[in-house]
Amino acid sequence: MKDRMFEEKRGLLGKIFSNNLYILFKTALIHDINNIAFIAPLEKTMESIENLLDMTNSFSLRLIQEYLFIDDIKIKVDIENFMASMFLIEEMKIRGIGSLTFNSGISLPELKRFIYAFINTNHESTDPFEDLKSKLSSQSVNNITIDRIKEEKEFFDHFIEDTREMAKNIYFKTLSVASEVMDSVKLKNTISIKKAKRLVQSMVDLMLEEESTLLGLTTLRAYDEYTYNHSVNVSILSIAMGQRLGYQRRDLGELGVATLFHDIGKIELPVDILNKPTEFTPEEWQIIRRHPVHGVKTLLKLKGLQEQAIRMVMASFEHHLNYDLSGYPKLAKQRRVSLYGRIASIADCYDALTSSRVYNRNPFIPDKALSFMMKKSNTAFDPILLKIFINVVGIYPVGTLVLLNTRQLGVVTKAHPNPVNIYRPRIKIITDPHGNEIDGDNIDLSEYNSMSIARSLDHRKYGIEVSKYFL
């Protein structure tokens, strides 16, 4: 097993390097080769290259699917390096580059020549990769080499397959533990959230490896187990947002546990109201709206003053408050809604809108739910966090059934990580242009300019089980 300290250090150095390289490219796009503004970013990039070369004779910045790696260590993406990662991925892709290898012996002038050769590559040409390669050769750039992009399918499929199995296991166990805890609360038994905590920690680890599978699992919905499904989903969606925000592992664990029990107050609500098949009356709404406060009471009864317990209380109390406090409970005084509360609120609303519930038999399809939520940006939802959320799940979240402009049906299997291509996710083609089921390719729509999503469809309306296409 590789030394974890080494991996973390490389990962961090890789993050710094990719950020510096991004700034360097951006500067080069504005200023000419002899401009003084170019010196500082050039030196900074060189420094980060040297730091990486300190441990080995060479290293590669590799592009595998939508992720950047330093050799085989994945560079974690958060809001700090998000733009840099997206830029580098995009620029490498259009030049057909799968990896950039930096060898010891590299000099500042050589790096400078490489940068300008890179940005001056004609990517409209028939083979931009060859174009760049010959430029590098003619300009004696010997210590930076490029390799063609290739589908590292085997590497990735194996990785995905493993995480998929693990994700399913963890998801369903968490579901079971969440229901156990809530049942214990109902029965007024003493509860322990230790099991839940362990599972959330596993979810965090998984999310840090690969987020799509867990996100995909949130689309599985059991109509009669809404509360538990919803709780686990909100936890997953929150962890995904927290990860994108750059929360540390431990904080992600706390966020996951806090949001897993955000609806614990519903246990206090009368079952006949919760299971009412028709619309709620205003009086019933009033009762429903007490659940955040009930949640605080329940959690305070069960837990002490530990950090985790307080975070749970905050998530429970704040998840319906709304960013501008227009939600419930209606407060008599101003309060700053915590980030946990704001994250929980977005995750909760999205999952609630897209889920079948006893009183919501016709849920929104995911993209419509997002569009609905966007209309409430800056009022009900923190606009920045909502953006981040959409970046995480995509405009067409995993599991969305779509009709392509080619008259084929497909299911979204992965959101596109780049906000610029957010409406062009990875899709599994499931029918031919005549509606006949096929086991089609899993394609990245951003790579097929001629193909696009015509519209999303409601898979429930047609009784289509979409999860089988991505799980």
């Binding site: 592992r249 009471k297 569009s371 959409i390 405009i395 906000p419």
Partner: protein
């Protein structure tokens, strides 16, 4: 605890690999023995003990030696034993103390130490494996804690708890084409296509992106990209939350709920939680955090945020609960030993309590052996009991003289004339220090009645009490004391008082005196000395001159002048000196 040594074959039969193996096993046993010793030491010795550091340093050195020589130290865990290369390297039949058993019980089956292991990591590791999570009521175990710590050089492998096969059945299978899905897809296709032009032409996008562009009014590519300002804003918020005081957040939430909660039962329940939080903080000695909470609570009650009187009464109950004797007794160990800086906070805390705290606090005065703390309690009690002094009277009968003295002090600080009869009752208290405190208290009260009682103390058995009373009366220019003072001076017993007291009495006579006392002073000054008792007469002459000098009136000066012309050398000298002093002062 037993660390087993591994029984190995004779060296002569071993090749180099076997020898290395044998050596590495020995080395692991040594490391684990050190680990056990360090655990014991950490349990036994306080944080400040240098022994703790010593054992950890040794342990780190042992680990370092091993890791450099043999690489990662991978231990397999079975019940109460650690295995290394298939050999038992640690075994502890006492399950309670066995680290292996603890880790095993939490599902850990493999533990790996890698190069770079630091002292800090080892301290934390030992803390994690030795804590009793059940006892501490935490929702944690070694696994959750190890995960949170995220050690760089300690890894572990955990077995999953029993798989629930029923749950796994719900997981969808891989893509398979069934008639049902075929039909469903075809149905969806047909229905969706009814509104579309027939043929093979490409469909027009009508997806949500069009709608989104309309909402935001800018190109789609710009909508979801975070701007540098947005990134900074989120970072700033994250920084704020890192420093957030979570207990204050919780309290804030409770106040928000209390402001809107109409149902009395629920309202009371939230108040109970608030009370619990305040008590927990107080028991932890965190007065500084409690004060703002109590201030908010008091403002909350005062501003009428409560919906009915019943709500208000419920809120007051929290403050009552904090002032209950039992709870204050629990707090005592803290207040007893806390430094002077905290005493201010404690004092502020007590001053915010309700009147039910008066008697318990008064009782505490009798228990505390720290003088500073006792004085602080008295000062606070004076604030707290200001409008309820009757609650203190009972303590004036306390057996302990110092309790009585402190309560008298409190009554003095309050300065309410209503206390006079009760002070009068104990004016003959057997302890002089109590009587002296009564004198002080009466002075603080500053009423005529109080001054009258002060006069009684001029005849107290104790000279410090008498002098104290005399000085106060003199300073207050209380003329009613004059006849008593004159009377005392003229008594034969006056001669038995010490010089200092006698001087004080004459000074008082001089300060309070009028022309009525002049004949007495003249007589005392001019008295001719006899053969016997000469020194006593001369002493009294001096006091008389001193008193006349203090009076400094025309009439008193006349007497001194007269004395300065006396044929008695002694009288003349005293009077000349007194006149000179007066002259100089002028």
């Amino acid at each position: 605890m037993v660390i087993k040594s591994t029984k190995l074959e004779d060296d002569k039969d071993l090749d180099q690999d076997d020898l290395d193996r044998k050596e590495s096993i020995k080395s692991v046993i040594d490391v684990l023995q050190s680990l056990s010793k360090a655990i014991k030491t950490l349990k036994l010795y306080p944080d400040t003990s240098h022994l703790r550091q010593k054992f950890i340093t040794e342990l780190v050195a042992k680990f370092k030696g091993f890791l450099e020589e043999y690489g990662d130290l991978i231990l397999k865990i079975k019940k109460s034993e650690f295995f290394y290369m298939g050999e038992v390297v640690y075994s502890n039949p006492s399950l309670e103390d066995s680290i292996a058993f603890k880790l095993y019980g939490d599902g850990i089956r493999e533990l790996t130490f890698t190069e770079g292991l630091s002292e800090e990591e080892l301290f934390d590791f030992i803390d994690i494996v030795t804590r009793d999570y059940k006892k501490e009521g935490e929702d944690d175990d070694t696994v959750t804690k190890l995960w949170e710590k995220d050690f760089k050089s300690i890894r572990y492998a955990v077995v999953e708890e029993g798989k629930d096969d029923n749950l796994l059945l719900q997981i969808p299978e891989k893509v398979t084409t069934t008639d049902t899905s075929k039909n469903a897809l075809l149905k969806a296709y047909k229905q969706e296509m009814t509104a579309e032009p027939k043929g093979e032409s490409l469909l027009q996008p009508a997806g949500v992106e069009v709608e989104i562009e309309q909402i935001y009014g800018k190109p789609f590519s710009e909508i979801f990209t975070l701007t540098p300002e947005e990134i900074t804003k989120v970072h700033d918020e994250m920084e704020i939350e890192k420093k957030m005081d979570l207990v204050s957040e919780l309290v804030d939430i409770l106040f928000h709920i209390l402001r809107i909660e109409h149902e009395l039962d629920s309202y009371s329940e939230f108040l109970k939680h608030l009370e619990k939080i305040i008590k927990t903080l107080l028991l932890a000695g965190d007065y500084k955090r409690v004060l703002p909470i109590l201030t908010t609570l008091k403002t909350f009650i005062r501003d009428g945020n409560n919906f009915t009187n019943a709500h208000a009464q419920e809120a007051e109950k929290i403050i009552d609960a904090l002032g209950e004797e039992d709870f204050l007794h629990q707090l005592m160990p803290q207040s007893k030993f806390t430094g002077i800086e905290d005493l201010d906070s404690i004092s502020m805390f007590i001053s915010m309590l309700n009147k039910n705290a008066i008697v318990p606090i008064a009782n505490m005065v009798g228990i505390l052996d720290n003088m500073k703390a006792r004085r602080l309690l008295c000062d606070v009690l004076a604030i707290l009991a200001k409008d309820n002094i009757d609650l203190l009277y009972k303590k004036l009968e306390d057996e302990k003289w110092y309790v009585v003295r402190n309560i008298v002090y409190v009554l003095g600080k309050i300065g309410d004339i209503k206390a006079i009869p009760n002070l009068k009752k104990i004016k003959d208290h057997m302890e002089a220090r109590v009587r002296k405190e009564i004198v002080h208290a009466l002075v603080e009260i500053k009423s005529e009645d109080a001054k009258d009682i002060l006069i009684d103390f001029l005849n107290d058995d104790n000279n410090t009490v008498r002098i104290a009373a005399l000085r106060y009366l003199m300073n207050m220019s209380y003329q009613k004391a004059l006849p008593i003072i004159s009377d005392i001076i003229s008594r034969e017993t006056f001669d038995t008082k010490d010089i200092y007291e006698k001087k004080e009495f004459f000074e008082a006579l001089g300060k309070l005196g009028n022309n009525d006392v002049l004949p007495f002073l003249r007589e005392t000054l001019m008295k001719r000395s006899k053969l016997f008792g000469k020194s006593k007469i001369e002493e009294k002459r001096l006091y008389a001159a001193f008193a006349l000098k203090k009076m400094s009136t025309t009439e008193s000066m006349e007497i001194l002048k007269e004395g300065s012309l006396s044929s008695d050398k002694g009288i003349r000298k005293i009077c000349e000196d007194a006149l000179q002093i007066i002259q100089e002062k002028r």
